[in-house]
Amino acid sequence: MTPVLETVGLSKGFDLRGGIGQPARRVQAVSGVSLALMPGHTLGIVGESGCGKSTTARLIMGLMPADAGDLLLDGKAVGTGGGAMRAFRRNVQMVFQDSSASLNPRLTLERSVAFGPQVHGLPAREANARARDLLARVGLDPARFAGRYPHEVSGGQRQRVNIARALALQPRVVIFDEAVSALDKSVEAQVLNLLADLKAEFSLSYIFISHDLNVVRHVSDEVVVMYLGQVIERAPAADLYAAPAHPYTRALLASMPSHDPDRRTTHPPLTGDPPSPIDLPPGCRFAPRCPLVADVCLARAPALAVRGRHACACHLADAGSGHPQAGAGA
């Protein structure tokens, strides 16, 4: 089956101006990220700050140009011209974390949702009718909410508007970048249920980016783990959570609070903070924090080795890598 959306070797770096007496440096935010979203699936992306998950989403949406890499929709490369990008955005939409910053404060909720379709050529009356339909569909009664402004509704309601707006162009893929993270838990659960309903009703495929590993497990078919700009592990969600292969993924999962006061975490799986993606080490990017680091890890970066549907970028997973513990337990 052809993935509905695919990225191949997506890369993006930023130059940092040097301070006084300091040289300019480069942040490698995303390095060679390849993702494949199958039709009807939800692809979860997890990772900590600086891992490049949001930059990846912005590169896909064309909100910033990639340095390298390809973007494919239905197996066909997406052009870079204005027309090609417009056609692409009809198919791929995004919902951001900050529900109020992503809505125009001067537009009513109905106008916010109708705006996109109108820009894409739908007459105002039809656009408004579609907006009211969608508001109803996301649980906001148009009779009460259509004429309100963003500041007149709660955060959860605003995020529903953003979801309605993303759906207004009848896309096939929606990218959620921490879209439920700012919501209260009880509201988050409602929105997650809503996303599941909408996905079935409109035959959507989702990319779901979150730092919340519980939520990602709940919604995803496949999960990609990123660390310092790279994909370090990729697997069906059940496999990844049951048998994480990469030492970082294991540490990340072990860092989740236990939820059981009688079985608390006793040791932190990792020490220190995730480093910033500035002036990266030559070998494995996780090596400086890895409990299983060996010489080979510092010398040579491991490639993403695919075994069935489970892929992992670690010398431990490759018996011929020269890592003393390679093949054992990874």
């Binding site: 900590e48 709660s154 009880s186 997650l192 519980n214 939820h259 059981d260 006061p261 932190p268 903070d273």
Partner: protein, 326 residues
């Protein structure tokens, strides 16, 4: 024995342009030395206001505080002048969610800790700096001596939160208030900070109130848990009682909403509706409009917090009808 901290019918009201809002309504809590209370709730539930009331940093002219607040045998609501200054930051100390905004950007970490120590103990500058170094070591900041001269912006998020903890503990407080101290941190850093706080709390024996919206975090750190909703405590008990066998319908709904341990992809048993607007609380139980078990009785009056034989207390008049703890 009376508890170290004892709140009786603590009520906090704010004067706003839209009228008077009740942020906390008749809150009663006891906390002993060496005990960690996890205060769980969603936005607007009153958990942060409770901490601010305890630290006595609510804006005086716009706030009406009622009830009783006894801390270490003293009436903390009656403190003023030098006594109040010694109380804030000395007796009671707070760790905020965002160390980046809570720390002073123009002073080094060492200078900020030393200032707090000097103010509260009156010791010399050199002694205070020695204490600052000791504190940075205690919270396990690597190369602590060099870090004394660091400014907050030169530190990573996890390091800044450690520095914030060092600052809060430098004055040897007997009551530590922590307001979502790990919420802004990455997962691998969050667990480090939780374990550090747990260890320091055990070592130093402070009474601690840990505010969080994250049930998992509360399970990691709390001895006892109190769940707040609409400015009131709706359930309190040991961490195991409340988090493993929740009784109040809101606690049950909140735990079901966290999708921890849920079947992936299955529908979440979500609570309908939204948390209440503190300016427009319903006359009876604040949760009644969202509650699947609500009956006319629930709207008659605010249900009192009733303690059962096992020590757990629940504010729900329907608790008998819905079959006790889940």
């Amino acid at each position: 024995m009376t508890a170290y901290l004892s709140l009786r019918d603590l009520t906090v009201r704010f004067r706003t342009p839209k009228g008077i809002i009740t942020a906390i309504d008749r809150l009663s809590l006891d906390l002993n030395r060496g005990e960690v209370l996890g205060l769980i709730g969603e936005s607007g539930s009153g958990k942060s206001v409770t901490l601010r009331a305890l630290l006595r940093i609510l804006p005086q002219r716009r706030t009406i505080i009622g009830g009783q607040m006894m801390v270490g045998g003293r009436d903390a609501l009656a403190l003023a002048g030098a006594d109040l200054r010694a109380y804030r930051g000395g007796e009671v100390s707070m760790i905020f969610q965002e160390p980046a905004t809570a720390l002073d950007p123009v002073h080094s970490i060492g200078a900020q800790i030393a200032e707090a120590v000097t103010v509260h103990s009156g010791c010399s500058r050199a002694e205070a700096m020695a204490r600052a170094l000791e504190m940075l070591d205690l919270v396990r900041i690597p190369s602590a001596k060099a870090r004394l001269a660091s400014y907050p912006h030169e530190m990573s998020g996890g390091m800044r939160q450690r520095a914030m903890i060092a600052l809060a503990l430098s004055t040897r407080p007997r009551l530590l208030l922590a307001d979502e101290p790990t919420t802004a941190l990455d997962a691998t850093v969050q667990i480090q900070v939780i374990l550090l706080l747990r260890e320091l709390q055990r070592e130093l024996g402070m009474a601690t109130i840990f505010v969080t919206h994250d049930v998992g975090v509360a399970a990691e750190i709390s001895d006892r848990v109190a769940v707040m909703y609409g400015g009131r405590v709706v359930e309190t008990g040991t961490a195991a009682q409340v988090l493993k066998r929740p009784a109040h319908p809101y606690t049950r709904g909140l735990l079901a909403s966290t999708v921890h341990g849920a079947v992936p992809g299955a529908r979440i048993d979500a609570i309908p509706g939204m948390p209440p607007d503190p300016a427009r609380l319903p006359p009876g139980c604040a949760f009644a409009p969202r509650c699947a078990y609500a009956a006319p009785l629930c709207n008659a009056a605010v249900p009192p917090l009733v303690q059962g034989a096992d020590g757990r207390a629940t504010a729900c008049v329907r608790i008998g009808a819905i079959g006790g703890a889940a």
